[in-house]
Symmetry: C2
Subunit: 148 residues, 2 copies
DNA sequence: AATGAAATATACTCCCT
DNA sequence: AGGGAGTATATTTCATT
């Protein structure tokens, strides 16, 4: 799908605030609200928009720690890990990656004990490396419009 | 703030679909729409909800590659990097972390050349390691309700 | 804190361009 | 692909419990 200027403007606004009304978006981009609704629906149907998420403060949810954990899976243990990982509710994001490690995850924990238990579980699947997140420098930056 | 059962249910629904109407949420959790609106507003004001994001398919946006890049900053180069990183529009997320590396970023690129240019820019700030993202195993999992 | 009701605003459907 | 009209639904405000 080709994204024209108007669709990029709509996507920018939706990325900043997914709960903006079609009417509000329409006012800012110069379209009627049915026109905005139609464009958004098309982008949803064609997979340009994957969904709408709410960014919840994990500390308010009772999670004191966040970590980036990589896994270098043991021989034959990658598939078992991939089958199991969705059971680990603490995992917010998980990617397969190239390089020395096979997996990288963003995970939240109530406390150090919780983190420790999680790493103990992982050790049956591979070698792990844990980096505690100190602060967010950039969070959910909108995808930039394709430039020159 | 203490999150009761109803607030967790509202957060679950909002995390799955941030554009759900208050009325729809109210029907599912058994509240009137003004009651839902009031609870959501309170969670926004108290910082439980940070915002509402739209998950845009970066390939549809013209980005063929996504990478996880770590930076181990040279002496005195961390601060200059932190000041500059928001200029790099390709960076979707960036965290300060503990461990051998100081910074971890999720970055999108049009093509290999674009990636190469980005790494060339980074090299003035520190040692980099690049992992190409092969696939998403878990994406934006909702924060689990605090358990036992 | 929640409800119900009235006023306003928005969304949805259909037809026209 | 978008505008406009008409209808249905949602949001907002406020009084009440």
């Amino acid at each position: 799908m080709r994204l024209d200027k108007l669709n990029w403007e709509i996507l920018d606004l939706l990325q900043k605030n997914a709960r903006a009304s079609n009417a509000e978006i329409g006012r800012k981009v110069g379209l009627s609200s049915p026109a905005v609704a139609e464009r958004i629906k098309k982008m949803e149907d064609l997979g340009v928009i994957n969904g709408y998420r709410t960014d919840v403060n994990y500390t308010a949810g009772g999670y004191q720690l966040r970590a980036i954990i990589t896994v270098r899976a043991f021989m034959g243990k990658l598939k078992p890990f991939l089958d199991k990982v969705s059971d680990f509710k603490e995992v917010l994001n998980c990617y397969r990656i190239t390089g020395n490690e096979n997996i990288i995850m963003e995970v939240v924990f109530h406390d150090q004990k919780h983190l420790e238990g999680f790493i103990d579980t992982l050790i049956t699947y591979g070698e792990t490396r844990t980096h505690i997140v100190l602060s967010d420098v950039i969070s959910n930056n909108p995808i930039p419009r394709k430039m020159a």
